[in-house]
Amino acid sequence: MNRSFKEVLGSGKFVVTSELGPPKGTNLENMIHHVDLLKDKVDAINVTDHQSSVMRYPSLGGALIVKERGGEPILQMTCRDRNRMALQADLMFAYSRGITNVLCLTGDAVVVGDHKQAKGVFDLDSSQLLTAIRTMESGKDLGGSDLDGAVNFCAGAIVTPEANPIEPQLIKFEKKIAAGAEFIQTQAIYDLDNFKRFMDYARPFGVKIMAGVILLTSWRMAEFMNKNVPGVFVPQPLIEEIKSAPKGGAIAKGVEIAGRMIRRIKEESICDGVHVMAIGKEELVPDILKEAGLANGS
């Protein structure tokens, strides 16, 4: 990994990112294995921040491991668990240790996770976290005091192109760009024709957009997401396609579908890249990239 993520974004190449969820506990073996597996195959690796509000090893710790092992980390930061003081402190720490990419998220509600009685903080929202980063880059903290040593980040955010209604999401998307987002990783998309319409709207903003691709591992998973994951819609023909897979072949079919989508996104230049989420099946990410014709990190 020679180029920083910011350089990759500026290079015009088809960007490929993936993500890891840190473990619940201090056994880091599996995560380290996945870091080593992915670090040379993708342009950057997101490390999630207590995803779905389930308490885990911190994203900052995971991002450090990616860095230490020669990968390019994207630190996911939610506003759920830290007030503006703690967020700024963690940003300074991250920067001081060479972590220079941050994905700014509001964060899931505490009550959907495994510490349902915890206090959700939400002192800032995702667009305000972007503002915080840009403020700190100017050498000031959010209290207006001077920093002895500023930060410098490549900061990004997310958007949900399939949300209903979509317009409130688009207004927020524009606020995030105005607040300084340089890249956008989308929530999972499966209907590329719909996504193309989103891109027709989004392209003029000039921000780099990576389409979210979640590996489907079974038709049940697809139906579960349709029912339970806000803003994710797997079209019925895709569900039927997985159902048609031979016994034991659902995952291979999912890899094929993900690879096919990525290939089409690249070939038709629908957006600037993809963000591949394998959710616990990280060892399949190289197969997905191979299926997409991106075997050597595109």
């Binding site: 503006r84 998220l105 509001t106 964060g107 899931d108 509600a109 009550v111 959907v112 959700g120 939400f122 002192d123 800032l124 929202d125 995702s126 667009s127 305000q128 503002t131 915080a132 959010l142 997310i158 949900t160 949300a163 209903n164 209604p165 317009e167 409130p168 999401q169 207004i171 927020k172 524009e174 606020k175 105005a178 607040a179 929530q187 806000p230 803003g231």
Partner: protein, 217 residues
């Protein structure tokens, strides 16, 4: 009218709070807890009977018209005898009433209810939290719907990614505040207000505990 919205504590918890206390005066409230059906006359009578079954002696009972009002001391006067025989007052009012009673009598005032929020009655038996007294009102920019309160995360700059067909990610019975705000502003032709970036909130407009002294002569 705004109401203090309550729910009854589990009876086991009430008994735990009353352990070692055998003679109880029982007081409900004629206002909010009557409306919430948590501390009106029927609930007070039911509590009296349940306490009786557990061997407690109810020295007296009443429904105070407005338990948070300073006039509570008059109610105490009216039931002087029953209060003097009691070791504690079990309050079936909101926490405002409990604290008012606590100041009026020497006896421990013990809550039988949990106070959930200050809400607005939206119809019979329907109460919604619509304001959390944040000290920095944004209603003028949000179509008269408060995102600090009505959005679970209190977001000022639009919906999170958890919004789901107009509902909130935490509960499909709860509306997404930002969808409501969007629809309202759209209807008013004022969607530009939604594009306004809200800077970081001041969480200490009136640092807790709130205390205001007007300069009256």
């Amino acid at each position: 009218m705004i109401r203090s919205i309550t729910k009854q504590k589990p009876f086991e918890e009430v008994l735990e709070l009353l352990s070692g206390l055998d003679r109880i005066f029982l007081a409900g409230c004629g206002t909010c807890t009557t409306l919430c059906r948590t501390g009106g006359m029927p609930e007070v009578l039911e509590m009296a009977s349940k306490l009786g079954e557990k061997g407690k002696i109810v020295t007296g009972q009443m429904v105070i018209p407005v338990a948070c009002d300073e006039l509570t001391h008059e109610a105490v006067e009216d039931h002087k005898q029953a209060f003097s025989e009691a070791e504690a007052v079990l309050m079936m009012s909101c926490a405002y009433g409990v604290q008012t009673m606590s100041k009026q009598v020497g006896l421990p005032a013990i809550p039988a209810l949990d106070t959930l929020f200050v809400g607005k009655e939206m119809g019979l038996g329907r109460f919604d939290e619509v304001c959390t007294q944040c000290g920095s009102c944004v209603l003028g920019l949000t179509g008269g719907i408060c995102p600090v309160t009505a959005c679970h995360k209190g977001l000022l700059n639009g919906p999170c990614g958890g919004t789901n067909n107009g509902k909130c990610e935490i509960d499909s019975d709860k509306d997404c505040a930002w969808t409501l705000i969007y629809l309202k502003l759209k209807e008013q032709g004022k969607l530009d207000l939604m594009r306004k970036y809200h800077d970081l909130r001041n969480h200490n407009v009136e640092p807790k505990p709130g205390k205001i002294r007007l300069p009256l002569e």
